[in-house]
């Protein structure tokens, strides 16, 4: 579906930006309110619901027993996928996975994978024969902007509360999945010429490029992604990275507060 608003909206956003204002009255580095619920879905081994302003997503963790990759016989695997189904908004159409949903899933996946928070060796059951596969599926139910940060938060929260169903697989007693770190994502969108944190749907519609930063413990960078048309300067990046350092630590605290 074609969105008809952007050119008028762009003018309005530019006028607001000139006075250092945002369309919903927030400050430039203010986030919308976030509610995180964990262990909220029967049948998922770990689950989280994130309500991020008016954006709503669910993340669920499932495990499977599989044969290891030939080049890594003693390592398990991790997969993270996101679905932008038509339930999420008027603009989403049914069909095979869109480039947007693939990018979303892969950016969230990289942040978690590259942080090393899951020890792949610990997922090995019998080297060369049996390993655990960890699958994180993210379901976007209501897209009102910044689904990236909401999905990344849901994914790590679901992972951190996941229980390996070892009894069902006949490999001993159920145990909590070991997750050694809490990587979180912070996204910035260029709106009216300057970057803002946590753009809402209108700001995304009338905005330009976006930058996604995933930071782990101690503020280390684990994944970066620039999306959509536009460029930025190193000075701009330094500024948003500073904001991300602070914000990611707050998000990690929120996730860690949910652990059993």
């Amino acid at each position: 579906m074609v969105e008809l608003v952007p050119s008028l909206l762009r003018q309005e956003l530019a006028a607001l930006a000139a006075n250092d204002q945002r369309i919903d009255g927030r400050g430039r580095w203010d986030s919308r309110d976030i509610t995180l619920e964990t262990d909220c879905l029967y049948n998922a081994e770990g689950s989280a619901k994130v309500t991020w302003g008016d954006t709503i997503i669910y993340a669920g963790v499932k495990f499977e027993i599989r044969t290891p990759w030939p080049d890594r016989p003693a390592q398990g695997s991790l997969m993270c996928g996101a679905e932008l189904r038509p339930v999420a908004g008027r603009k989403y159409e049914p069909g095979p996975p869109s480039p947007q949903s693939i990018e979303l899933g892969r950016v969230v996946d990289r942040g978690i994978r590259e942080s090393g928070c899951i020890d792949m060796d610990s997922l090995c059951i019998i080297p060369g024969e049996k390993v655990l596969g960890v699958m994180i599926d993210i379901h976007v139910l209501s897209d009102k902007g910044n689904i990236f940060d909401a999905c990344a938060l849901g994914a790590i929260a679901a992972l951190r509360t996941a229980i390996v169903p070892a009894e069902r697989f006949d490999i001993g007693e159920d145990y909590p999945l070991a997750v050694s770190m809490t990587p979180t994502m912070c996204s910035f969108t260029r709106v009216g010429g300057r970057y803002v944190l946590d753009a809402n749907d209108e700001e995304e519609l009338g905005g330009d490029e976006r930058i996604h930063i995933t930071l782990g413990d101690e503020g280390h960078l684990h994944s970066l992604q620039k999306g959509l048309k536009g460029t930025f300067t190193p000075a701009e990046f330094d500024e948003i990275l500073g904001v991300a350092q602070q914000r990611c630590a707050e998000l990690a605290n929120l996730v860690n507060s949910k652990e059993a």
Binding site: L41, Y42, N43, A44, S47, D54, T55, I56, Y58, G60, V61, K62, E64, G81, E83, R85, P86, V87, A88, G89, R90, P94, P96, P97, M135, D137, H139, L141, S142, D143, K144, R168, D201
Partner: protein, 245 residues
């Protein structure tokens, strides 16, 4: 319906494994208007099942070949989330979800006043987040509440309910074990005000008398769930109007 007879589903005292009486349904909770991006939405928890439904429209129907000159088309998608079952489901449409989507759409077309919106489309997106037998019924209930929340005119709500047979006994609202090892399942979409039936499927083995008992149980359950649906919509209406009726 494989392997019935070898799993005990009724206790010595005549109650079911989860302690329910034969004509007792699982607990149901309903919320209307939970998805800000949608024109209308609903959340239904039925036992351990969780379904969420979003309604978009009426909107222009495209591609144009799906347009009907005299009425709206209802485009239903029933989908199970990959994490909704004990073994992960591969994302995407399969034969089962296509069939359920089709018959659900036809059931909803029987209650929505589709002739009010020629050449348009109403999108109904049913997402099953947790599944424990009876998800198509929960999806129908959620769809009806979401359509009403979207302000789409309907001649009645529609309630999804099911009865079936376990150990030669008719029971209301099968849970997972009863569905897997039972002898019959009869899901229905019932118009609670008139008692008409807009959705019907069945598999297994039922005598005529057993069918009648199922029907009686389904009607009873539909009336109970109807009260909860109306209540959820009223709460939503009060919320929208700042608490003023």
């Amino acid at each position: 319906m494989g392997g019935y007879g070898d799993v005990k589903l009724l206790r010595e005292d005549g109650l079911r494994l989860d302690g329910r009486k034969v004509d007792e349904m699982r607990e149901v909770e309903i919320e209307a208007g939970i998805l800000p991006a949608a024109d209308g939405s609903a959340w239904v928890k039925h036992g351990l099942n969780v379904a969420v439904c979003a309604v978009y429209g009426p909107m222009e129907a495209h591609p144009r070949k799906i347009q009907r000159q005299d009425r709206a088309v209802i485009d239903v998608r029933y989908n199970m989330a990959p994490f909704s079952t004990s073994d992960r489901i591969r994302p995407g449409y399969n034969r089962r979800s296509r069939e359920i989507s089709k018959v659900t759409a036809e059931a909803l077309e029987s209650v929505v006043l589709v002739e009010r919106f020629p050449r348009s489309k109403i999108r109904v997106e049913i997402e099953i987040l947790a599944a424990e037998a009876g998800t198509r019924c929960v999806g129908i209930t959620a769809a009806a509440v979401a359509l009403a929340d979207a302000g789409i005119p309907m001649r009645d709500l529609i309630v999804g309910v099911a009865s079936g047979k376990i150990e030669d006994t008719v029971v209301l609202d099968l849970d997972k074990a009863e569905d897997n090892y039972g002898q019959a399942d009869l899901p229905m979409g019932i118009l609670p005000t008139t008692g008409e039936i807009a959705f019907l499927q069945m598999d297994g083995d039922l005598s005529f008398e057993e069918y009648n008992t199922c029907m009686e149980y389904n009607l009873k359950a539909a009336r109970e769930i109807h009260v909860l649906m109306i209540d959820a919509l009223k709460r939503r209406y009060l919320e929208k109007n700042g608490g003023e009726a």
